[in-house]
Structure formats: structure tokens, C-alpha cells
């Protein structure tokens, strides 16, 4: 019998899974269908660089279909809903797809309309987001015109994609205005709902110190209730205010809208309840999820998706063969943090181990939690690996899906 595998989403997770599973199964053994609403695959880490003119929208977009290998059906349509009971997906173009295994890889949607005032007067004029291609491009124009005043950077609430990106944005802003020679005329403020610069204590300390060194003001425990574009202020639910001339906002995130339209598929925020180790959904055994679409307690980031893919490939094969799922994802994430001036930090962590100092991938390697040029080069080179190694489903030599303690040390060790 031919297995029917349907993958919803042709972003990082959907593309990797389709290409990997095509290697697992011959075409006579399994059909693989991938669905996405458009044909625009964005290299999302590149969005950070667009506002500073370091890359351009056309350099970070490729057709989705071209990243998907031969022998995989690519179907372009909006998804209407999943009928969990019937093992069937309904597309808005009228097509129905029956499946033996469903992989939800539909990522996360931005929900700017859920924050009062955010898409009101001033949106895309002095209130921007760099989390979309259009927003990042509009922000480039606005930064070019900016010649002094208050810039605030704020993410409304977790979860967000790449939780480190708003911090990178403030570091890059500091560098950008240094380069333009007007840093002294620009106030930069980072406004966060967290109680520190980052969620994990050791990294929060390092990053907080770096912000102080760069004269970036930190406002913590600020839960934005309203963005007043006209009046130029963020207002928190407990009635504090932060004034701005230019605001860079990361809107609330939720799961893809079809998840909410599919009874029992998602949680309150539209993410698929997923076992954090096997990546099987808790909704139904034949539904799996990967990347930003899951509710698992780790970063919504490409590195997470990449590490998950190897585990999920094995578990899907086991499931279809009627074997117990043995693949165990450990929450491994690995992120470069661009800090401006051609330097970057690197962090590597999992469910149990917070980001530590040391070197990656082992004693000899890139420095962890320390600024270095090598990390910056690593970050730039990564785009090549993304298109040519990650998406095709190849393993990167020397990088394993599970985190290793080699090269890491805890404070005081």
C-alpha cells in the first residue's frame, strides 16, 4: 500500500520534511503532498538586515516550489481546515486531501490587529515591524530619513519567532547610527515584557551588560496595551508610557488561521499541542507538527526546526511501520546574535541547559556568549547553508541534532 503523507506549509519545516521523507520512501511507497498559499519562500533571518540596507528583499526570497525535490506534489492554495476525525484536509480551492500522516508545518502568523492602535494612524509611517518583507523594506526608508530622536523597539508578548531578533535589532540600530555619525542624536530604548534582557538568566546578564555598554536603555516588565502612533507613545496595561519618534514593534504571534478553523487541532493561540520529544501531536497519533507551528517550550527558530526534522523523519517512518516512536528531540536551539560592528554572539542550548559560555561545536570552535568576528561570518555564511544544505535535507557535518556539553562551561567552572 502507498502511504499518503500531507505536509501543510512549505517554509523551513515543511520543505525539509518533504525532501527528507522523499529520501526515506520511494515514490511507489509513499506519496508526498505539500500545500502552501503562495510561492514566496523568505529566508527569514535576512529580514533583520533589510532595514539597515545590508541586504535587499529580492536577495532573501526564492520560489517555494524550486526548493522542493522531484517526486513531491506541490499544491498552491489557502488551507480551509483539517478534519481531524476524517483524516482529511480541505483547501479553499475546493480540493480535499486524504492522509495517513499529516505534518503541520504552517508556522506562525503575525497578529498586529490584536494590539490596540498598532495598525491605526502612524502604522508604516512611524510604527513599523521588520518581521515582514514589506515592513522591513518600509523601515529601511524610514531609518534613512531619520536624523535624530527616540527609537523604541518592543515585542508585545511571547511567543515570537527568533526571540533574540528584537535585541539584535537594537544592537544593529546602535551600529547603524554610529556609522552615520549621529549616534549622539539618537536615543535607543528596548522595551520588553520580560524582567530582563532575555529569558534565560546567564544570557540575560551578558546581553544586559552589552546593552549598557552600548548606551541602550532597557525598560522591563512592560506589557504593551496600546501603541499610539499619532501621539508617539507606548502605553502599558498598568498605565506606564514610553514616548517615541519611531517605533519598531514585533506584533503578537499566533498559529496559522486554518488551525483555529479546525476543531480540536490547536490550543488557545492556534499552536498544535505537540509532544516535546517525539513531535507527535497530542491531538491524534497520525498528526505530527514541526517548527513554529508547535506549542513546545523552545524558541520558534529555524535551528530548532532543523534539529527537529531529523527526529521527525525517523518518527514518521516508525509510525507508518507500526513501530514505537523512539526519536527524542531535546529542545536543542542554536542562534547567532548579531551585535553590530561586524561582530556576533553565538548561543547554544536545549530544554534543560540554558545558554552557557565556552565554544561550539566543541573546545575548538566559535566562542559562545562572547562577541566575535568569527560568529558574524558564521551568521552571514549561514544563508548559503540554508538554501543548499538545510532545505534539501542534508546533515551539516559536525553538527548533531542533540545538544552537546563539549566545549561548554558553567559560570565559575
Amino acid at each position: 500500500m502507498t502511504h499518503r503523507i500531507v505536509i501543510l506549509g512549505a517554509g523551513t519545516g515543511g520543505t525539509i520534511m518533504a525532501n527528507r521523507l522523499r529520501k526515506t520512501y520511494a515514490e511507489s511507497e509513499a506519496s508526498i503532498t505539500v500545500v502552501d498559499r503562495d510561492d514566496r519562500h523568505i529566508y527569514q533571518p535576512g529580514l533583520l538586515f533589510v532595514p539597515f540596507g545590508l541586504t535587499h528583499p529580492e536577495d532573501i526570497v526564492r520560489p517555494r516550489k524550486r526548493q522542493i525535490h522531484k517526486g513531491i506534489d506541490y499544491h498552491q492554495s489557502e488551507i480551509d481546515r483539517v478534519d481531524v476525525e476524517a483524516d482529511r484536509v480541505h483547501l479553499t480551492d475546493g480540493t480535499t486531501l486524504d492522509y495517513d500522516v499529516l505534518i503541520v508545518a504552517s508556522g506562525t502568523d503575525l497578529l498586529p490587529q490584536e494590539t490596540e492602535g498598532l495598525t491605526g494612524p502612524g502604522w508604516m509611517e512611524k510604527v513599523f515591524t521588520f518581521y515582514t518583507l514589506e515592513g522591513a523594506a518600509a523601515l529601511e526608508a524610514a531609518l534613512t530619513r531619520f536624523d535624530g530622536g527616540r527609537i523604541v523597539v518592543n515585542f508585545i508578548d511571547l511567543p515570537i519567532k527568533c526571540p533574540i531578533a528584537p535585541l539584535e535589532f537594537v544592537f544593529m540600530t546602535d551600529w547603524y547610527f554610529h556609522e552615520r555619525g549621529i549616534r549622539d542624536r539618537v536615543d535607543i530604548t528596548y522595551v520588553t515584557p520580560l524582567d530582563g534582557a532575555f529569558t534565560k538568566p546567564i544570557a540575560a546578564q551578558s546581553l544586559g551588560d552589552l546593552m549598557a555598554e552600548k548606551h541602550i536603555e532597557l525598560v522591563t516588565e512592560f506589557n504593551t496595551g496600546e501603541v499610539d502612533g499619532e501621539g508617539g507613545r507606548l502605553v502599558s496595561y498598568d498605565e506606564r508610557e514610553v514616548p517615541f519618534d519611531l517605533a519598531v514593534i514585533v506584533p503578537l504571534h499566533g498559529g496559522a488561521s486554518f488551525v483555529e478553523r479546525s476543531p480540536a487541532l490547536g490550543d488557545d493561540l492556534g499552536f498544535v499541542p505537540t509532544d516535546p520529544h517525539t513531535l507527535q501531536s497530542t491531538v491524534k497519533p497520525n498528526i505530527f507538527a514541526i517548527g513554529d507551528a508547535t506549542n513546545i517550550p523552545t524558541s520558534k527558530a529555524g535551528s530548532v526546526t532543523h534539529f527537529e526534522a531529523e527526529i521527525l523523519q525517523d518518527n514518521v517512518r516508525r509510525f507508518l511501520a507500526g513501530e514505537p516512536l523512539e526519536g527524542e528531540y531535546d529542545g536543542h536551539a542554536n542562534c547567532f546574535i548579531e551585535t553590530g560592528f561586524k561582530k556576533a554572539l553565538l548561543i547554544d542550548f536545549n530544554y534543560d541547559t540554558e545558554p552557557l559560555e565556552g565554544h561550539f561545536p566543541a573546545q575548538v570552535g566559535m566562542p559562545l556568549l562572547k562577541e566575535s568576528r568569527l560568529n558574524h561570518l558564521g551568521k552571514l555564511m549561514f544563508q548559503w547553508f540554508y538554501w543548499h544544505s538545510l532545505l534539501p535535507g542534508r546533515d551539516i557535518p559536525g553538527i548533531r541534532p542533540d545538544m552537546t556539553m563539549a566545549g561548554k562551561h558553567r559560570p565559575g567552572e
Binding site: E221, Y237, P297
Partner: protein, 105 residues
């Protein structure tokens, strides 16, 4: 971790006053802790939030964020801040006797 006496019974709490063992909690303790937080009278709306927090913790193993509270507890985020002015997620979690909600990364 330290021990604190609430409603005449010793309970285990962490440095920030969050319960380590939610099963030690009783409703009388909630009333006493609310007073410590400056909330003199727990209204039916307060209790709605407290019971929702405990239910979420039982089902998911972590307390809800303000956003989930606003979406699913039946009390809007604005009202939540009126009920628990010092921050709904943390203060309500403390009063409801559940561990500090995990911020995910």
C-alpha cells in the same frame, strides 16, 4: 526554597513566594496571600481567574500568560490589570498557589 506559614499551615515556597507544591494550597491561603499583595477583598472575578489558573496548571503543567488569561479566562486583559494591578500572570499565580509561569524562549 523556604517554608512559610499560611492559614496556620506550613507550605513550601521559592524565593519569589511562589508555591513549590500546588497541592498544599487551600482557598483560605489565597485570601491571606491576596492581602499581602494589597488585595483586601477577593471578588467572584478574582476567584474566576484563580480557579482558571489552577485548571490550566493541572492540564498543562505551567500557569498561563496574561495573553492566554485574556483570551480564555473570561476576563479581559484590561480587567485583569484592574484585579491584579501588580501584574496578573505573576500575582494571580502566586495567590493561586502554582509555580511561577514559565516564560518560554
Amino acid at each position: 526554597m523556604s517554608t512559610k506559614t499560611l492559614a496556620g499551615t506550613p507550605v513550601d515556597v521559592n524565593d519569589e513566594g511562589f508555591f513549590e507544591k500546588p497541592e498544599q494550597w487551600t482557598e483560605e491561603m489565597a485570601t491571606e496571600m491576596a492581602e499581602e499583595e494589597g488585595i483586601d477583598d477577593l471578588t467572584p472575578q478574582h476567584w474566576q481567574v484563580i480557579h482558571f489558573m489552577r485548571k490550566e496548571y493541572d492540564e498543562k503543567g505551567t500557569g498561563p500568560t496574561v495573553r492566554v488569561l485574556g483570551k480564555s479566562s473570561g476576563v479581559s486583559v484590561k480587567e485583569l490589570y484592574q484585579l491584579f494591578p501588580k501584574g496578573p500572570a505573576k500575582v494571580a499565580a502566586r495567590i493561586a498557589g502554582i509555580p511561577k509561569p514559565r516564560g518560554c524562549v
